[in-house]
Amino acid sequence: MKIEGKNALVTGASRGIGREIALELARQGANVAVNYAGSEKMANDVVDEIKSLGREAFAVQADVADGDAVSNMMKRVIEQFGSIDILVNNAGITRDNLLMRMKEEDWDAVIDTNLKGVFLCTKAVTRQMMKQRSGRIINISSIVGVGGNAGQANYVAAKAGVIGLTKTTAKELASRGITVNAVAPGFITTDMTDQLNEEMKAEMLKQIPLARLGEPQDIAKVVAFLASEESRYMTGQTLHVDGGMIM
């Protein structure tokens, strides 16, 4: 796929799906800025792995829910790479609970990181991409943002919001050569899904026609496609990568 020599920023790239996306983009030839919020060591491991693939990489700390931190991160990436061709908004957290038990602060924390974070990073990168007259923005939503999920009101609301934001951003930026698409992963094996209890996992497996959990790699491959020249006629779309859970 054609992303050779492109410069990418992946948020929340120190572990899980973000880590795999960063590595996959590098395997396909991109240089990658590895954003992390707290896991510096893990982010540095990802950087080392990318460098061993012969690509440029560096770790950049920023809380995506903090506007100033996000603009500083974007400045740093542009200084370092000279351009930014691919932004993957992947950073996300969970604070699961039933609606009736959900604390307001848990609602706010998830909306801030998972939805506002996408807005802030997109806004910050748009200036550069508009100047370049090209860019790829890929937002990581979730299949629960399409179908709902008991116990995740905050997460689901944020992930559904990301789909709407994807469509609007796609419409606003299409005339400037920037495409914006979303990927909605299903049930993928990561630290985040390890937190779900066995009952929830068993329940979800029943709903997966392909009868297995997804791997981070399953998501990363689709993201790499959306980041590439091959997907140039797609914008505003949400690709479900979920083993067929929601059709």
């Binding site: 200036r127 508009m130 100047k131 606003e172 005339s175 400037r176």
Partner: protein, 77 residues
């Protein structure tokens, strides 16, 4: 004044593809010069680069004519 107007005019002509004679102080970007909202955002970005200044979102919204842009730059640079 003249020098700022000259530089602003050049950017507008390049960006919006209008004739230099159309770029009058009272000309509005949207109605008179045919810019859409995104064009105006881009113009402001280019003015920021050209004059090495930052124009806040609130101030940017007030810039509707060529004269607004020139006055803003003179008052703030």
């Amino acid at each position: 004044m003249a020098e700022v107007l000259e530089r602003v005019t050049k950017i507008i002509v390049d960006r919006l593809g209008v004739e230099e004679s159309q770029v009058k102080l009272e000309a509005t970007f949207k109605e008179d010069l045919g810019a859409d909202s995104l064009d105006v955002v881009e113009l402001v970005m280019e003015l920021e680069d050209e004059f090495d200044m930052e124009i806040s979102d609130d101030d940017a919204e007030k810039i509707q004519t060529v004269g607004d842009a020139v006055n803003y730059i003179q008052a703030n640079s």
